[in-house]
Structures are given as C-alpha cells and as structure tokens.
C-alpha cells in the first residue's frame, strides 16, 4: 500500500491516491473520447494520443474543473431584469506551468431540455472579477466583459471559449480564475400569456452547473509531428 501511494502514483503523475467521495458527472465528449480510444486500442489501430480528434486540438491532458463559486444575493430579487448572479471560481493549480494551453472551454448547463418552454429569452453576461473582495461575503468588483450572449430558451448547454482569458491568467501565473456570471430576463411579448409552472430564475438557480474544460499539451510527452522533405 505504501508503495502504491507513493512511487507508482508518482509515476502516473499523481501526488497521492485520489479519494473522491462521489464521481462528478462526466461530459459526453470525454466519454466519447475514451470510448473511441478504447475501441482503437482493442482493434490494434495506431492512434495519436497527443491530438484530440473530437475537439480538433492538440493536447495530451484534458481536465474538467468544477465550479467552486457561489450565488450572489439569492434572498433579495435583483433589479433591471437580472435573474441571477454568480461568481464562478475555478482552481487552476492542477494545470502545470510547463504545459501549453490549447483549449479552455466553459460550459454552462442550464438544465435538462424538457424543463422549459422556449421562453423567456435570457441574456447571459460573463465578466472577469477584478477584485473579489471578502470571499463569499462582499459583492466582487466586476471587470472586463468577456461575453454577452442572448439565449432564446433557457435549456441545455452553453459553451464559451476562454482560451484568451486564460492566456492572460497564464502570463500572470495566477492559481485561480474568478468570473462573474449574470443572467438577465429579456422582456418577451409572449411571456405574460405563457403559463410558467415555476419561476425560471428559481429553476435556474437549482439547475445551473458550470465547468471548465482545459486541454494542455506537454511538449515533453508530445513531439511535433515530423514532416517529410520534398
């Protein structure tokens, strides 16, 4: 056991044996990748494991980081059509300094597709947190706006490319990424006549789930593909 905990796990790139209490939900794309690789291995087909075909990027390590942030002011209703506000927090310490970032995709899961009618229309605003203040207590100071996206129906998954934002992070060598998420309700001319079984903001508050998929390439393990000379 002692050997397993130190030498062998270190060989596998792990500091200690992970002991998760329960498994996190695994996105479909990761399951698809592992199944395709298992099938290729079983058939004996050669495969380049430094290229993620399903995502169209080079990389040998895919990490899905869970959001560890918190909702802001869940008790008091917001003004100006704001549905909910949340600080998204991702601990980036698992990303090694030498690794080259090739993809960073934020996924916001707004809940199952069968939950809602296609209204009301929402607007999702995603900004960087300039100053987090007292963690979990004070309202953070919101900085640069990264995305402002209109969502016709609050259902399913939304994806945002955060590679640019993470490159800034990488150059500053920060160990975490704080984002401010605000979801606003857009006035809908049908919304008054539609029977909503439940306030969509309350439902979003329960079902909203965020995660960050980071793909990195370690040059030590992945050499650039050699080109044939003419």
């Amino acid at each position: 056991s002692e050997f397993q905990d130190s030498d062998l796990l270190q060989f596998l790139g792990l500091e200690k044996a992970p002991s998760p209490h329960r498994f996190q939900p695994v996105p479909r794309v990761l399951r698809k990748i592992i199944r395709a690789r298992e099938a290729a291995a079983a058939s004996g087909a050669s495969q380049d494991l430094c290229y993620v075909k399903e995502l169209g990027v080079r990389g040998n390590l895919l990490q899905l980081l869970p959001d560890q942030g918190f909702f802001l002011n869940t008790q008091k209703p917001f003004q100006d059509g704001s549905c909910l506000q949340k600080v998204l927090y991702f601990n980036l310490s698992a990303i090694k300094e030498k690794a080259k970032l090739t993809m960073a995709q934020l996924t916001l899961d707004l809940g199952p597709r069968s939950y809602y009618n296609l209204r009301p229309e929402l607007v999702v605003a995603l900004s960087v947190v300039q100053d987090r203040g007292v963690w979990g207590r004070s309202h953070p100071k919101v900085g640069r706006l990264l995305f402002l996206r209109s969502v016709p129906g609050p259902q399913g998954q939304l994806q945002f490319n955060l590679q640019g934002a993470l490159k800034d992070w990488s150059s500053n060598r920060l160990k975490n990424l704080d984002l401010h998420l605000e979801i606003l309700v857009k006035e809908d001319r049908y919304s008054r006549v539609t029977v909503q079984p439940e306030n969509p903001c309350d439902r979003l508050l329960r079902s909203l789930h965020a995660s960050l998929l980071v793909v990195t390439l370690n040059p030590k393990h992945c050499h650039p593909s050699s080109r044939k000379r003419r």
Binding site: Q4, L12, G13, L14, K16, A17, P18, S19, P20, F23, Q24, V26, L30, R31, I33, I34, R35, R37, E38, A41, L49, C50, N60, L61, L62, Q63, L64, L65, P66, N91, A94, H221
Partner: protein, 114 residues
C-alpha cells in the same frame, strides 16, 4: 524458411502472455472512471542461445546468451517487452477535477529476448 517445430515445443520460450489488469483488484476503481481495466499482457519464457535468432532478440541478447554459455556466472538473456503501446485513463482527483490523460508504455504488444 520456416522451421517446423513440434507442437508444445515453443510453450516455454519467450513470448507474450495475456494479462488483464482489473482496476477493482488494485482498489483503483474508487477513482478511475474508465476503463474498468485493460489488457496489459506480460512477457515470459526462456531465451536459450540456440533460439535467440527466432525470438525477436537484440544483438545484445545474442551476445549475452553466448557469454552465458561460456561463463554461467553471466546471467541468461531475459524475456522483455520490445513493443509497448499507451492507454488513456479517465479519473477523478481529490479536488473533484475529472481528468483524461494518456499513459505511454502500458500495454505489451510484442516480446523478445533482451
């Protein structure tokens, strides 16, 4: 030219054997999501001097086998993996991160005397 060998004669010579590693046996099923295990295989068998040419041997193994004949204190050539392939593993670490990573040299594809 192919050399006809009596049936069962090769059984003790160096070759690849099947070995399935089940992560549950190692207690790794608690953190490895997929796969549940993999066919790792292993190499085992004799590397006699007379057969080094036929057992995917390195030149070094040939010389070592020759030296063993001359001086038994020199150990025999051994049966080792000569071709390995990687696998991918999907697991969860203690910080709730889900990680897909590939590990080189995890599956024995071919064996030989080395």
């Amino acid at each position: 030219a192919a050399i006809s060998v009596p049936k069962g004669f090769c059984r003790n010579f160096c070759h690849r054997h099947q070995l399935f590693i089940n992560f549950q046996d190692l207690g790794w099923h608690k953190w490895v999501i997929a796969p549940k295990g993999f066919m790792a295989n292993y190499c085992h068998g004799e590397c006699p001097f007379s057969m080094t040419t036929y057992l995917n041997s390195s030149n070094y193994a040939f010389m070592q086998a020759l030296m063993h004949m001359a001086d038994p204190k020199v150990p025999k050539a051994v049966c080792v993996p000569t071709k390995l392939s990687p696998i991918s593993m999907l697991y969860q670490d203690s910080d709730k991160n889900v990680i897909l990573r590939h590990y080189e040299d995890m599956v024995v594809d071919e064996c030989g005397c080395g």
